[in-house]
Structures are given as C-alpha cells and as structure tokens.
C-alpha cells in the first residue's frame, strides 16, 4: 500500500522496487521471496548475446 505522509507531503517512503524474475518456469512477485540459493543463482545470471557462437 502506497501512503501519503501528511507531515511532509511525500509518498512511498520505505517502498522498494519490485523485481520480477522467473525461477523454475514460473514467476515470483519479487525476489524478496526467493530462497537463499535461488537468490544467489539469480545474482549470478549472465545475459546471453545474439551472436552465432
């Protein structure tokens, strides 16, 4: 829930970004919910280029 703080007119203090990733074929709302091993795996992932080799 995103809330307005009336003291300073600011919105969303303390709210993190959501990072949606596929773990084992399905998606998870945000990587906070990953277990430690899958978090480590996600951190290690490298992007694949489009060259032919």
């Amino acid at each position: 829930m995103i809330t307005l703080n009336q003291n300073n007119g600011m919105v969303g203090e303390g709210v993190d970004f959501e990072r949606i990733r596929r773990i084992t074929g399905y998606l998870v709302g945000t990587i906070d919910r990953f277990n430690d091993a899958k978090r480590a795996e996600e951190g290690d992932r490298v992007k694949h280029g489009l060259s032919q080799n």
Binding site: L4, D16, R19, N35, A37, H48, L50
Partner: protein, 765 residues
C-alpha cells in the same frame, strides 16, 4: 591423531576412539555377508582417528562421514550401508528430541526475510497466519513420514541428500498434477463438492468456472493444475455469447428501424432463431445472412405481419453481426481480465497460496478461440490493477508449423502477439509441437494429442500402460524424486565406470521408493478426491463409484526420476561442464541417455510410466549443495556456489551466446520425457527488440527444444507504476529504492502517464 571432538550441541569433549570401534562393530554384526576381524576393526578405527591430526577438532558428523568413507575404501560396502542406516536411525531419535519443535519455533518467531525455511517455496507467504499454518502442517508431516513411514534406506538416502523426495509432506495423501479437460468437465455442469454448477452459457461464466475448476482440483493435489486446451475450451463460451448478442442486436435494430415495440422485436428475433435450423457463429455469419434474407421477408408475408424487405433483412443482419462481434469481443476481454485477476488472488491450500495454474493455447484456429487468445494476451500485456505483471497463470503458447509459426499460417498473428507480450510480461512461454518427440503423438485437429506443459515443466504424453491412450487430458504426474547427480560425480572420483555403478544403485533405490509411494496412492478411493476423481477429471475416473479404488486409473500417470546439476557432475568427473567442452557434452548426453534408458526399461518391465525429469529445483538447488559442502568441502566448480545448476542447464554464470546455449541444451529435451525447460537471458533492450525476441523463439524451435522461455528483467516501481528495467534510479519518478516522492510530482506524472497508482491517505499529523 584426534584428541577432541565437537558434539552436536557445540560442546568440545575428549575424543574416544572406542566409541567409533563400537559403532562399526554394531553395524558389522548387522550384516551376515561381511565379518570384520578384531584387527580390521582396530585398523579402521585407527585410520579414522588419524584422519583428524591434532589440533583439528572434528565434529561428530565429520567423524561419521570419515567412517563411511574408510569402510568403503577397505571394501566393507555392506557394513558401510548398515552404518549409514544406523546413523539415520540415530538421526531420527535426535529429531524426536527437538528438531521439529525447533522448526516450529523458527516458523513462529522469525520473519520470512530472515529464515530461509520460510522462503523454501517463493509463492507461499509464510509471514501470514495461513502460510505459517501450512508450514506447521508440512514440516510436521515430513517429520512423520521420515520417522514412521519411509523404509529406513529411503529415509536415510533422503535425509543425507543422496536423493530428494519431492512434496514429501504429501507422501500419504495425493498425486502431483493433472491436465484438466474443461470441455469434458463443463459438459452438463459439474459439482465442486460445495454445490452444483450448471453448464456455463457465456464467456464470462466460462472464464469464472475455469478458475473454479483449477481451484477445486488444486485443493486435492500437491502440484500444478494445467488446462491443456484453453483455446478449445473457452471457444464455446465465445460462440454462446455471440449468438445471444446477435439476436439481442437483431431485435434492437428491428425495434428502432421498424418502430416495432421491443417485445414484438424480441419475439421476431426468437422466431428467426427457431426458424433457421442451424446456429449462427462468428465463422458462418455471411451464410447466415443469406438464410436470414430468405427467411425474414417470407416469415412476415406468410404470417401476415408487417413487411420486411430482403435489403432490410440484410441490413439488419449486418448491423447485428457488427454489434454482436464488438460486444462479444468486449465481454471476452473482460472475462480474460477477470480470469487473470482471479488466478492471482483466489486462494487454495489453507489460503496460503494461489492455485498453481497453467494455460496452454495457440492451435485452435476458429474465430472464437482466436478471440479468446487475443484478449487473454492483451489483458496480460496490460497487467493487473496498477499495471503489475501477473504472476499466474503460467501461459504456454503452443508453436506449430502450419498453424501459427509462419507468415500465412492462420494463427501467425497470435504467435507475433505472444512474442510481444512475453517481451513485456515474461509470459507466455513457448512449447514446440514440432519437436520430434512431441510430433510423434500429434494428430491434426485433436487437442488431446497436442503436447502440453504444466507449470514449471512437467510433461505427460507416452503411455505404456495403455498405448491407445497416449494423450494429454486427464493425466498427470503421480510423484517424482530427484537424484543428487553431482554427489555421484564427486564419489566416482573421475572413474566413469564407477560413476555408472553408483548411478545404477541410486536409480534402483529411487524406483523402489517411487513404487512404495505408488502403493500408498493405490490404496486410496474415489471419495478421497471428490473433484479430481469424483467429477471425472482424471482419465477413466468417470466410470468409478465413490468407494472404488483408484489403483487402476492411476496407472495412466507417470512416476518420474529427476536430476539436478549435470553441469557440476561433469565438472566433478572430467573437470569441465558441457558449455566448456565438446567431450563433456558428449559425456553429459551419454549419462542422461542412460538414465532415460533405465526409465524405458523399467516401464516395459512393469507396464507403468517411468519417466525422466529435468527437475525444477527450487528448494532443492540449495539443499543438496549445502549438505555436499559439509561432506566434501568447497570443490571448485562443483560445490563452491550456493546452488546446484538447474537440471541439464549450462550454468547461469557461464558466458555463452543464446544460440550456442540452445544448441547445447536441445538434445536433452528429447531425453527428458517427464518434462524440461530451457531459458535464454536477454538484457532489457534486446528483449524490447521484437525481431530479436522472435528469432530466439524460432531458434529454439529449429533446434528441437520442447519447451522454452526468454528471461529478461521486469522491474516495477510501485510508487509511480513504472514497469521496465530499473537499475538504481526509477526512470519515471527519479527515486532510489526506499525514497519518497512528493505528492505534487506524482500528480504531475499522473497527467502524463496512464496507470500511475493512487496513494492512500494518510499517516502523520
């Protein structure tokens, strides 16, 4: 020579070699075929003691590992096995003293962010009451199964990490998953156990009932629920909605243009419906228009009603078709939007999880099915209420040449749209009916012969129990158990022959365990599964009564052996994984081909469907490696990370092109008949390039991949609603994670962008 030992409670005490000798002696006396002499016992005790030279203080577990190792080295394999069982027995007793209660304490008093056990499965929120209750049940059940149900050698293999029995908490209860044929289920209505539902008559009720069917079945099984034919299943709902809308619009047109009162207009539309003997559909509207042009003027004349000319009848038809098509399309979009919302919010399993839903579609070329697919994709692209990416359902677009793969194929536009949506929302994934191992079952126009994938990757197609039923609907996996392949790689110490010997033993063990579980499953009756079996969802269960055994119909399901960490296995065996060396790839294929052959042989022997699975390891990826690190230390490239690599994947950390990765992984898809998936990771910009995206999918198809998907980062800022790649700073509102944005700035952004979320008022003051 060790002088001290660290007990399990952390206390260091003097090392007593006599205790080792006693334990080995006890194990040896339990074995009839091997007799150790007193001298042999002394030698072994000495070897173990010397393995920990002062000042090393070994733990009890390390000493016991060493005993196992030295026994095997000295050729006392049977004694070693007895010793392992002895350890397992003692592990049980220790558990009884408090482990379960320790777990309960952790579940109760720790936050999920601090306790890995509470995040074992990412889609259960264990910070909630029902999520915690589910975990209490699950952990208590596992404890019971390990200590009181499983034969000792299976329990020991599971506890020590040789194998992993998946969904062990459900061991005494049910099966994994099922592919639900909604067409069959909806016919004449169905019962959820809490009330009877009539056959639906509108696309909105079709979609609502689809969710209810998934939810009802999910509450009776521990794995995912799949609709293998979502397009075929929902198309009749569109047809019914269109038909109703057509006659409604026809009446409206007559009411306005002929100044008929509404009741008369409705009665006339009903007369048309009754008078023309066939039904109008989206596909046959022009022919129906002809029929109407002939029928309506004649009907008016014969009955002496107000004249309607042929051109008037044609105009009425054209209007009714256009208006009905529009309203049906709108209704279908709303139905698909509601379905996605429902599948992300409706709870199952004690309220802790949403159903694990999968929808397969892509091959029905009827206009009704195309309308379903188009709108499902568009609703997915739009996202949930505030533009969030929907987590469920897993969507799988079935790619098929001649149907949707090439320019000119009737559903090619939907394939393109699938690529566009997947490039934004990560779904749909793509399955490939043309892969030879899928194509062999395919019969054109029969959805029951089109391969379907469930959730993570599960695939059920071949059927040795009944060769005439190699079909999709009503079937699923019964249970699966995975082998810790890297451990066998480590223990073989580079000796391939030894590797296969150990692998054979492990496979034998798992086959025994799967059959043990199967016997328990066969002991159940239809009344244990009021929906799955009682409503005829499972194949052939519609012929059974409430007290009938389900043993026979379960034989259509699969018993699967899975594996994890082929890459680490190859590293342990030959020093390189299959991404690094052609030789390793060759060996990797040999190993997996061999495992598949063992499954095929067992299937032939028993008439049951033993299949090989590329395990979707979520909890397991960390569990095996944690145990192996303790046992073998950190072996570079093998046990030195926090996870074992997913099934046959090239390791995620290894730099490789998408093309090469696909080529390397494709042959394993043909071997893993219980399911498989390959991923390609793209950066955000490449994923946005639809040509590049499509070229990856096409590359998968041409390489013989069965099921694949493209991963790319999808980030979202819940404050301003931006969806895309966010590195450190949100490109829309400019905040870092945790930083607030001023109310004025947000209101300004709301004028520029649709979907900026509304904030709640208020706190402070």
């Amino acid at each position: 020579m060790a002088t001290q030992i660290k007990k399990r409670n952390g206390v260091v005490v003097p090392f007593d070699a006599q205790k080792i000798r006693n334990a080995v002696f006890k194990a040896n006396t339990a074995v009839t075929e091997e007799k150790m002499t007193g001298a042999a016992l002394d030698r072994l005790t000495d070897k173990v003691s010397r393995a920990f030279p002062d000042p090393v203080v070994p733990t009890v577990e390390e000493v016991q590992d060493k005993v196992e190792e030295k026994l095997i080295e000295a050729g006392f394999a049977k004694t070693a096995k007895a010793y392992i069982l002895y350890r397992a027995e003692h592990a049980k007793i220790r558990q009884a003293e408090g482990d379960l209660m320790d777990i309960y304490k952790e579940l109760t008093f720790e936050d999920a962010r601090d306790a890995d056990i509470k995040r074992e499965n990412a889609n259960i929120d264990t910070d909630t009451a029902m999520g915690t209750m589910l975990k209490y049940g699950s952990e208590g059940s596992k404890y019971f199964i390990n200590n009181y149900v499983l034969p000792k050698d299976y329990a020991a293999a599971h506890i020590h990490g040789d194998i992993h029995i998946h969904d062990e908490d459900f061991y005494m209860l049910t099966e994994t998953c099922c592919q639900i044929d909604l067409i069959k289920l909806f016919h004449n209505g169905f019962c959820t156990g809490h009330g009877f539902l009539r056959e639906p008559n509108d696309i909105r009720s079709y979609a609502a009932l689809a969710c209810i069917a998934i939810q009802a079945n999910q509450n009776e099984m521990h794995g995912g629920q799949s609709i293998p034919n979502f397009d075929y299943s929902l198309a009749p709902g569109v047809a019914k909605t269109f038909r109703k809308a057509y006659f409604r619009e026809l009446a409206k047109y007559l009411h306005i243009t002929k100044a008929m009162n509404m009741d008369d207009a409705k009665a006339l539309a009903a007369a048309v419906k009754a008078g023309i003997e066939w039904d109008i559909t989206l596909g046959n509207a022009p022919e129906y228009g002809e029929a109407l042009a002939a029928f309506l003027p004649e009907h008016q004349r014969v009955n002496g009603y107000e004249e309607i000319t042929e051109p008037e009848a044609r105009r009425a038809h054209e209007y009714a078709v256009e208006a009905a098509t529009n309203s049906t399309n709108d209704a279908t979009y709303q139905a698909m939007e509601a379905l996605i919302h429902n599948l992300n919010t409706m709870h199952s399993r004690a309220g802790a999880q949403v159903p694990f839903s999968s929808l397969n579609y892509g091959t029905d070329t009827s206009p009704e099915a195309r309308m379903v697919m188009k709108n499902l994709l568009l609703a997915t692209e739009r996202g949930l209420g505030d533009g969030e990416t929907p987590i469920f359902p897993v969507q799988i677009f079935k790619v098929k040449e001649g149907v949707n793969y090439n320019e000119g194929d009737p559903n090619y536009d939907l394939f393109k749209l699938s690529c566009r949506v997947s490039a934004k929302r990560l779904f749909p994934n793509f399955s490939f009916i043309d892969a030879p191992f899928n194509l062999q079952y395919y019969k054109e126009g029969d959805y029951d012969t089109e391969v379907s994938y469930m959730g993570c990757r599960t695939r059920v197609m071949g059927n040795v129990h009944d060769r005439s039923r190699e079909t999709t609907c009503g079937r699923g996996n019964l249970s699966f158990t995975s082998i810790n392949l890297p451990r066998i790689g480590i223990e073989a110490k580079g000796d391939i022959k030894r590797f296969y010997e150990l692998l054979d033993k492990r496979i034998d063990l798992v086959i025994g365990q799967l059959l043990h579980r199967f016997q328990i499953q066969c002991g159940k009756k239809v009344r244990n599964y009021p929906f799955l079996m009682g409503q005829g969802v499972w194949i052939d269960s519609d012929n059974l009564g409430p007290d009938d055994s389900i043993a026979e119909v379960l034989k259509h399901g699969t018993l699967s052996i899975g594996f994890i960490g082929l890459a680490e296995t190859l590293k342990a065996l030959v020093g390189k994984h299959h991404g690094e060396s052609e030789e390793s790839q060759k060996l990797g294929l040999e190993i997996i081909t061999y495992m598949r052959k063992r499954m095929d042989d067992e299937s032939q022997k028993r008439g049951l469907n033993f299949t090989l699975l590329a395990t979707p390891a979520e909890g397991l990826s960390g569990r095996f490696v944690r145990i192996d690190q303790k046992k073998y230390g950190k072996i570079p490239g093998v046990t030195d990370r926090e996870y074992y690599t997913n099934s046959f994947h090239v390791p995620v950390y290894y730099p490789i092109s998408a093309y090469k990765k696909i080529q390397l992984e494709a042959p394993y898809h043909a071997m893993t008949n219980a399911g498989h998936i390959s991923y390609v990771e793209l950066d955000g910009d490449t994923a946005k390039n639809l040509e590049a995206f499509e070229s990856i999918v096409r590359c998968m198809k041409e390489a013989g991949i069965g099921y694949g998907s493209v991963n790319h980062p999808v980030d979202r800022d819940p404050v301003c609603g931006y969806t895309g790649v966010i590195d450190e700073v949100c490109p829309r509102c400019g905040r870092h994670a945790g930083e607030p944005v001023s109310k004025e700035r947000l209101d300004e952004l709301r004028k520029k962008y649709p979907g900026v979320p509304h904030y709640e008022c208020c706190y402070g003051k």
